[in-house]
Amino acid sequence: MSDFCMPSLGADMEKGTVVEWLKKPGDRIAKGDVVAVVETQKGSFEVEVFEDGVLSEIVVAVGTEVPVGAVLARIDSGEVATVPASAPPQAVMPSMPAFKPAVVPPPRPAGERLRLSPAAARRAAELGVDPRGVVGSGQGGAITLADVEAAVAKTARAAGGKTRRGFDPAAMRQAIAGAMARSKREIPHYYLGLPIDMDRALKWLAAENARRDIENRLLVGVLLLKATALALKDVPELNGFWIDGEPRLSSAVHVGWAISLRGGGLMAPAIHDADGKTVDQLMAALRDLVVRARTARLRGSEMTDPTVTITSLGERGAERVYGVIYPPQLAIVGFGAVRPAPAVLDGAVAVRPTVYATVSGDHRASDGVSGSRLLVAIDSRLQAPEAL
């Protein structure tokens, strides 16, 4: 028994009406016989069968409109089930990936409309400058990029600051203000902390430094840096950016190392591919960055490349630091000062050198369980300092 269905006669045919049955139940039919007439928007079609047999039942009466594929009649082909025991192999049609526009239009600014060129708008945001009040020199009085930079330089001169190549202190404060305000406004932070026993790490460091020249000695910070970079390979969901409403994870780990500047201000330039560098290479990179940051000789890309930031307070005292994420990064890892603290070892209280590690994560991109895994991974890396 098989089904005789409303045929598809064209890609634009969706339905048809049976206007005549040329065979009746019980009639013998042969392949190629016309059994019915179907009316469509293009006219009447004689519809043929593709098998031999007996018309056993008419399912759709004359005058009925049915969609393509609907059963019109049943044919007894005199054969046992025509369906093969196992279905023949069929290819699966790939489905279309969700369409994404190439460019997401920028959000429309709230409040009164300002004639601000796109380039000027971006630079103003980078510098944390409020463009209202800047005098525009472009078309129709539009504020251009040069207008924004000139206004910032003027403010800085008025404040007595010295403009230097690449940045000046007043502009920097504005930039930090802009970035941090945006971070707290847009990024829902979560915070986690874990005290880490630094006994093994410090002992390894002391032994290592004992056989080094003074200029080649390692600082504890470099161990924290390497441990964090390696841990991020285990917990990749905290490494990368939040862009256009979704996380863009980075396969490379470029660590932004927060450096405070004399005279105020802060930068976090990139140490590229920190997970792949030896502790000696990292030490050299750190020294180089600090010197260049403090003499304003950083490259622009070093400021925008970091995929994550570490803020380490070093020997300056505070026990814990919960950082504010630098947008559009996904996390910031903080280390307090290494200091002696009570710890429970084998059921007894002991005093151990301890660093309090924290992570601030972007809750849009990850959950606390990821942050927790990161801290645990940093801890375990620091318990095997020789492998760093």
Binding site: V103, S117, P118, A119, G138, A142, T144, L145
Partner: protein, 330 residues
């Protein structure tokens, strides 16, 4: 042979390119209306019949569709034809073959067949030959996937693009602006093939980017010189290839100058300038200090009288004024 640069013209450089291709590859032949005995409508192929004979310098009947289609068929059959169409306006008679066959067969055959065809055709206005011989329709062709569209605007390019186009496995349409044929300049006797991809910065500048191609390039360069006396340094980009477009060069220039003027003899509506403008807004919006500006052909069929024809397309002075308005708004 001397290696000192010698004086020549765009026309002679185009002819030299054909000669070189004919000598280098026996599969190459030239076919088109009056390319042989007449010497070519613009005299590009003058003398080639005597050198290469009727078999390889083929005069055709006035049958654009048949001889362009025959070029496609010959390319499918292993030859490397150069098909000359007397004017871009006449190429419309062969549009079926260009769009439905040359551009589709490689993809539609699942990559079984390539169409290594080269077509050359004059384009553009400036010779007072009115509305059926003066249009710039290369932007239309640049709409079609499967084609490569180039517009040599210098002696080096018209000398060097042909061979590279013949070596390309895809159909390449070369548009030669009629006002360039008499352009004189110096060309090294060693001048040879040049890439057919990528734009060129013909003049660096910091204040705005002028993006153009073909017959408008000399006008843009003249405008840039005039702007310089006014303290405005214009960067002039010669697109060279209209399909594919060199987005990287365009965006890098816009990021430096923050202002852009697109100059195209073709019409504005739905034209190549619209495509370039859209790409700049898509890819370099945040680099811009002003909306992209366009100076295009006026939307009329090109008229016959000189003053009207001149007013129909961008000229050095109108380019200068448009550029100045962009950099120094009143």
């Amino acid at each position: 042979m001397s290696t000192a640069p010698r004086k020549t013209t765009y026309r002679e450089a185009a002819r030299e390119a054909i000669r070189e291709a004919m000598l280098r590859d026996p599969r190459v032949f030239l076919m088109g209306e009056d390319v042989g005995r007449y010497g070519g409508c613009y005299a590009v192929s003058k003398g080639l019949l005597q050198e290469f004979g009727e078999e390889r310098i083929r005069d055709t009947p006035l049958s654009e569709s048949a001889f362009v289609g025959a070029g496609i068929g010959a390319a499918l059959g292993g030859m490397r034809p150069i098909v000359e169409v007397m004017s871009v306006n006449f190429s419309l008679l062969a549009l079926d073959q260009i769009v439905n066959n040359a551009a589709t067969i490689p993809h539609m055959s699942g990559g079984q067949f390539a169409v290594p065809l080269v077509m050359r055709m004059p384009t553009g206005s400036g010779r007072q030959v009115a509305a059926q011989h003066s249009h710039s329709l290369e932007g239309w062709y640049a709409h079609i996937p499967g084609l490569k569209i180039v517009a040599p605007a210098t002696l080096e390019d018209v000398r060097g693009m042909l061979w590279t186009a013949l070596e390309d496995p895809n159909p390449v349409l070369i548009f030669e602006h009629v006002q360039l044929y008499n352009m004189e300049g110096e060309l090294s006797p060693a001048a040879g093939p040049v890439p057919i991809a990528g734009a060129a910065i013909r003049r660096p500048g910091r204040d705005l980017s002028i993006i153009t191609y073909g017959g408008s390039l000399p006008k843009c360069l003249a405008a840039a010189e005039a702007l310089a006396t006014d303290g405005i340094e214009a960067e002039v980009i010669d697109l060279r290839s209209l399909r594919p477009l060199d987005d990287a060069t365009i965006m890098a220039s816009v990021a430096r100058t923050r202002r852009v003027l697109i100059v195209d003899e073709g019409w504005r509506s739905g034209g190549l300038s619209a495509e370039i403008s859209a790409r700049i807004v898509e890819q370099a919006f945040y680099e811009l200090d002003a909306p992209p500006a366009r100076l295009c052909g006026v939307e009329v069929p090109i008229p016959y009288p000189k003053h009207l024809e001149d007013a129909s397309v961008p000229q050095a002075e109108s380019i200068r004024l448009a550029a100045r308005a962009l950099v120094r708004p009143a």
